[in-house]
């Protein structure tokens, strides 16, 4: 039991930090431009596929730098030539543009790399067990993922809170017009933030690709969870996104690891009653429920606290 708790906590924190790499960019873009970027998870997917392809051509370490840069450039182009032109039609049009983009990116990826999972391997340098606890080998690559996520988190925090650039970004979040009047190019700030957000998503994709599955439906399966994270944490709140990422990461990891059901806890139902909704619910294991847990959390938080955990706006 202790083994399960320790390993699941490690994996949960890891998944949570990965989620935060994505949700931080999404949250900053949302609070700055009012755009919910549907294609954010697609940039994560592009990162994984670019990472795979570049790893094949030039190796993992160059790919770790190059793939996010490429995706960041794509993100900047999307902001400059897509969103900025659509802005005059309102937020719904912007949301729809990113939705169409997510759809198109998924199709392009599956067209080029196919629909089946890719053989994206952990680099040889990191392919060894880091330590052994309770007879389980914990891979070094996961420690590397955790380290990268934490470093990015710390760097992001320092840049946002302690530098001049961060000051301008923070000001542009709440008072874009004033920032513009002070002589800063707000459009360029938006483009840069969109690019950095996409690049961070891609970085998450490059490092998550070998550990999770690199497949053309990875954006469609992760995207909705990301939205749950930022609604759960409170729209536009970075600390909220951080807490929500960890909560969702831990809850989902633990749910997958647990095998209990109501039947195993309270004994099986009377079989003479026949199959019904009750028997379905009674017999389902927690692991089977894991995919819907984030959405259940979403519904609960919407009923209990509609602005989200740390949100300020209703």
């Amino acid at each position: 039991m202790l083994e399960l708790i320790v390993i699941s906590t490690l994996n949960g924190v890891l998944f949570g930090m990965l989620l935060f790499l994505l949700s931080s960019g999404l949250t900053v873009i949302f609070s700055m431009m009012g755009v919910l970027n549907f294609a954010h998870a697609s940039f994560y997917m592009l990162g994984a596929f670019f990472g795979f392809q570049l790893t094949k051509w030039i190796g993992f370490w160059p790919a770790l730098v190059l793939a996010p840069l490429l995706v960041g450039a794509i993100g900047m182009a999307v902001e400059r030539y897509g969103l900025r032109n659509t802005h005059k039609h309102g937020h719904v049009a912007e949301l729809l543009l990113t939705f169409g983009l997510a759809f198109a990116i998924e199709e392009i990826v599956s067209m080029i790399w196919g629909k089946s999972p890719l053989d994206y391997r952990v680099p040889a340098l990191l392919d060894f067990p880091a330590f052994t606890i309770f007879s389980t080998n914990y891979p070094a690559y996961k420690i590397f993922m955790l380290a990268v996520s934490v470093i990015i988190f710390v760097v992001l925090l320092i840049v946002l809170k302690r530098t001049r650039v961060g000051l301008i970004v923070q000001a542009a979040l709440t008072h874009p017009h004033m920032v513009g009047h002070l002589g800063h190019n707000v459009g360029r700030v938006f483009m840069a933030v969109f690019g950095v957000g996409s690049a961070l998503a891609a970085l998450a994709g490059v490092i998550a690709g070998p550990a999770l599955v690199t497949q053309s439906d990875m954006a469609a399966s992760l995207g909705p969870i990301l939205f749950v994270v930022i609604v759960f944490g409170g729209l536009g709140s970075l600390p909220g996104a951080f807490i929500a990422s960890l909560v969702i990461g831990l809850v989902q990891t633990f749910a997958v690891a647990l095998d209990g059901s109501l039947a195993s806890a309270f004994g099986p139902l009377d079989p003479s009653a026949g199959p019904s909704v009750l028997t379905d619910i009674w017999n389902v294991t927690i692991a089977q429920v894991a995919p819907i847990v984030p959405y259940l959390l979403l519904v609960i938080i919407l009923i209990v606290r509609p602005m989200g955990l740390m949100g300020t706006r209703e």
Binding site: F99, F103, M111, P224, F227, V277, I281, L298, V299
Partner: protein
């Protein structure tokens, strides 16, 4: 009050000729629906018509949300799918209990299935509009789609719930075995739902929904609760989506979890938006186009979804009014008699635009078939996806087409501006 006073002077004059034309359009629509299977009687076409009819009901129900109330939902298929399951269970129950309910009443139960779920979940969802509603609808959609695989006794797991439409009591001797009879059943419900949904837009509720879409704060000032208005609109949309789902269940005699999924929600969003949300007939056009393309393209190319994505992005960026919006833009020009000044520039633009489209198609198909090596057959000309000739042709068409097309589009814009100025001077354009 003041707006009512000023508009009364104009209304009667328009209503006399307008109502005749108005009923004429509906009558023509009904006649087309009746005559269609007599002209095109092949089985494949009948199936296509049936699917298009269902898609129209579904898209119209979606437009109650998107076009009329301004709610962008990414989970509308939930009500469609639940309507389908409700209809399937109802049909099986009718057969096993021997109730005297004939098949044509079944879509009503599909509608009730969609409505009940909308009533349960809608109150929480419609608390807020805009982006938040969009995200919540996405989450609810995923929740229901995932839950449907867990609750096996209701949703039948992966394989779904099957049923037999011919086992129900007959109505006027119709067994609904042949596709033709199913087509007429769908056409009947299509007309009924379309009239009901059009009537809904003319009620005070429909009007106040428009107001909630445009300015919820002001609606609050005049004493309405936007949340309640959104909730009621959501329930109506859920009901008609359920009707569409019930029709699907009758058509395929099966309901499975794919009906509830994100792909269906995306398709209905595409149909409605491509058709145009600002006019009642927009979603009808969109549903016809998207379903027709879907049925036609799946045989021709593996990348058909990508074409949808590209068309959708193009519409969002350059014509947010959709096809209906583009068509209706011409109305003031026709009335002012200045449309003929624009038409020549359209003809000039056609050639480079088609070249550009061919280039894009060629490029996409080259990538899609590169590994497979199947030949690309574009308007009777075969292209080899692995030969550099094809790549150069695609590149020339895309770059050259885009360059020339941009020039011609600019000409259209200039001609359009001149025509619109004249129309404005003559008082046909505000």
């Amino acid at each position: 009050m003041s707006t009512a006073m000023t508009s009364t002077s104009k209304v009667p004059a328009e209503a006399a000729g307008g109502s005749l034309r108005f009923y004429g359009v509906w009558l023509i629509g009904i006649i087309v629906l009746i005559v269609l299977p007599m002209i095109f009687s092949s089985g494949g076409l009948l199936t296509s018509f049936s699917l298009i009819g269902i898609a129209i009901v579904f898209a119209l129900s979606y437009n109650i949300l998107l076009g009329q109330t301004g709610l962008l939902s990414f989970g509308h298929a939930v009500h469609y799918g639940l309507g389908g399951f409700a209809a399937c269970h109802m049909m099986n129950a009718v057969v096993s209990h021997g109730w005297p309910i004939p098949l044509p009443f079944i879509p009503l139960f599909g509608g009730i299935g969609g409505l009940v779920f909308a009533m349960i979940i809608g109150w929480v969802m419609t608390k807020r509009a805009g982006t938040v509603f969009a995200m919540i609808s996405l989450g609810i959609g995923e929740l229901v789609a995932s839950s449907s695989l867990i609750l096996r006794s209701v949703f039948g797991g992966e394989s779904g719930i099957t049923t037999d439409r011919t086992a129900l009591p007959k109505l006027l001797g119709w067994s609904f075995g042949p596709q033709l009879q199913v087509y007429y059943l769908i056409a009947f419900w299509l007309v009924l739902s379309a009239i009901a949904m059009y009537a809904l837009t003319r009620t005070p509720l429909g009007r106040i929904s428009n107001a909630v879409r445009d300015n919820p704060e002001r609606v609050q000032f005049i004493g309405y609760d936007p949340h309640v208005v959104r909730y009621i609109a959501y329930c109506f949309a859920g009901f008609f989506a359920g009707v569409a789902g019930g029709l699907t269940a009758i058509n395929f005699e099966i309901a499975n979890s794919a009906l509830l999924g994100a792909i269906q929600s995306g398709l209905v969003l595409f149909s409605t938006f491509i058709g145009g949300t600002a006019f009642f007939f927009g979603p009808i056009l969109g549903a016809i186009l998207v379903t027709y393309l879907q049925l036609g393209l799946t045989n021709l190319t593996t990348a058909w979804q990508l074409y949808f994505g590209i068309i959708f992005i193009g519409i969002v960026m350059y014509a947010p009014g959709g096809i209906a919006g583009l068509l209706m833009m011409h109305r003031p020009l026709i009335r002012a008699g200045t449309l003929w000044t624009v038409i020549p520039s359209y003809f000039v633009a056609i050639v480079p635009t088609i070249a550009l489209a061919c280039g894009v198609i060629l490029a996409i198909e080259t990538v899609a078939r590169f590994s497979g090596g199947d030949a690309i057959n574009l308007f009777g000309i075969a292209f080899n996806p692995t030969s550099p000739v094809t790549w150069i042709a695609a590149a020339v068409l895309v770059v050259g087409g885009a360059f020339v097309a941009r020039l011609t589009w600019r000409r259209i814009a200039e001609a359009w501006d001149r025509a619109a100025t004249v129309a404005r001077d003559r008082g046909y354009l505000a």
